[in-house]
Amino acid sequence: MMTESEKQVQQGLTEGYNFAYLDEQTKRMIRRGLLKAVAIPGYQVPFGGREMPLPYGWGTGGMQVTAAVLGEQDVLKVIDQGADDTTNAVSIRRFFSRTAGVQTTERTEAATIIQTRHRIPEAELKKDQIMVYQVPIPEPLRFIEPSDSETKTMHALNDYGVMHVKLYEDIAKYGHIATAYAYPVLVDDRYVMDPSPIPKFDNPKLDVSPALMLFGAGREKRLYAVPPYTRVSSLDFDDHPFEIQKWDHSCAICGSDHSYLDEIIVDDSGTREFVCSDTDYCNQRVAQQEKQ
């Protein structure tokens, strides 16, 4: 029989740490918080967030959620700005390879857990998939009201007038709502929620999604969730309906005219090109085109 630590060494795992870094007690505490979050969609559950070996603001909340729900059979995908190969995505993926030894993937369909920063993949999510969002500021009302005790009361009383006033003031000043990412949503007709800083382009993907959406804010020590098949609507007005971003360009690599595009400056005179922000989606399209 091998001891636990011999097994770890054999699998190339980091010695002296539990599976997926956090101890089981902590993971259980986080899972309890997540269960509450799922039971009250969009409600922010305080939790005893731990220090992680990555800095706050770099995905510690998402990492704690991933660590808490990760099992040995899971296949993990990590994206940042939609891409699998951005440095922080690489770093977090490696962290779980090292501490949990789980299989990782870049394919959206192949993943059981997808930890993300700032995007929802273009490919449709399936049931049994879990999206884990890294959240910097979980409180959608924070920039209107800085005090936590105040915003807690506003949520409890369903008092979201200030948010509508803010959106109205945008329209009065700019002609339309001037929020392009972290665009507030109403979950299950009850709680106003910050969908994390995803572009508003991705907001419709939250609505009635078959996947479970978990949100973790490490520094602010809050968890929240959108269970599968839950109504998620972006706040708007009848005469100013919610709209998503559109581009006059197509992806320079795969030709997609319907995905979220990143702008790239390709030479010193500022010539611009546009490419898919979701690298896996782009690669899959290219592979398919080559087959045909």
Binding site: G48, W58, D85, P136
Partner: protein, 366 residues
Amino acid sequence: MYVAVKGGEKAIDHAHHLLAKKRRGSTDIPELGVDQIRGQMSMAVARVMTEGSLYDEELAALAIKQSAGDLLEAIFLLRAYRTTLPRFAASVPLQTSEMQMERRISATYKDLPGGQLLGPTFDYTHRLLDFALMAEGNELPAPAQEDLQAEPCPRVLEMLEKEGLMRVEKNTRAEVPDITREPLDFPTNRMQRLQALARGDEGFMMALAYSTQRGYGRNHPFAGEIRIGFTEVWIEPEELDFAVPLGDIEITECEMVNQFVGSKTEPAQFTRGYGLAFGYNERKAMSMALVDRALCAEELGEEITSPAQQEEFVLMHCDNVEAAGFVSHLKLPHYVDFQSELELIRKMHAQDQVEDEEYSIQEKRA
């Protein structure tokens, strides 16, 4: 094809390698030992232990070595290690009146039981560079004439309490909250506040303390007592019904005497600000005591007018691991969000242009 931050995997490996080289510096110079840092940079070790919330001189010294002297990074390393440790007990309250003191001063009494003991201090040194330290193999400092140490003696504020002049802080015997296990929930109690301040950033704490002195939440402080030395830590294990000592730790304790509370029915009493830090860490303990007192404003019925008195502002921003992390995360790519903003600002420009054209057409017609 060009895509920014491609090849992250390789870049990270190279960066780690370069960092290791940078940390080591020139290999012509012998490597710094953890024992040297522990022995000769004890003030840095004290700060890292205090804000890292872990009393372990050796690990703190290791963290300083690993972080190439970046103390905030060292604090972060120690915190990330601490978080994985099991928590088996809370200690019995420290009896600082039993402290083996290496330094003890009071600014409120010229002489007092137990006396004043300057001990090792930068106070009253002239800040002139000592070029003799440039050379190696300096002679050992001459031993002091006798090993001066104050006998354990009661705390200054205890004496004021006995006279009925100092507000007595009652031991509620309530369970001690742990802000590292349960997130802060506002309004907080003093136990939670003191925990947060104890691990808070020294610089931030000092700036806030300074702001109270300059009138932003002034609380008329006197340094009632500062004592530095070794105190025993005792715990009461569940299976025993008596306490057992674990060992000694070096701490700095500061108690500030502040101006009165009282009413028609209650005689006026001084109030207290409290600061405690691991190791020799006077600046932090004093700053903490001033901020602690400022944060008692609400309980003492004072008007809250200044940043140092606002608990949400102070407690949510005093942790340098949280603050450094969130500030530094701006280095991470944000091009998806930025793209959203670009799209928005171009849309606004386009709209302005249309409006301008419409306006000039109207003008021409008029």
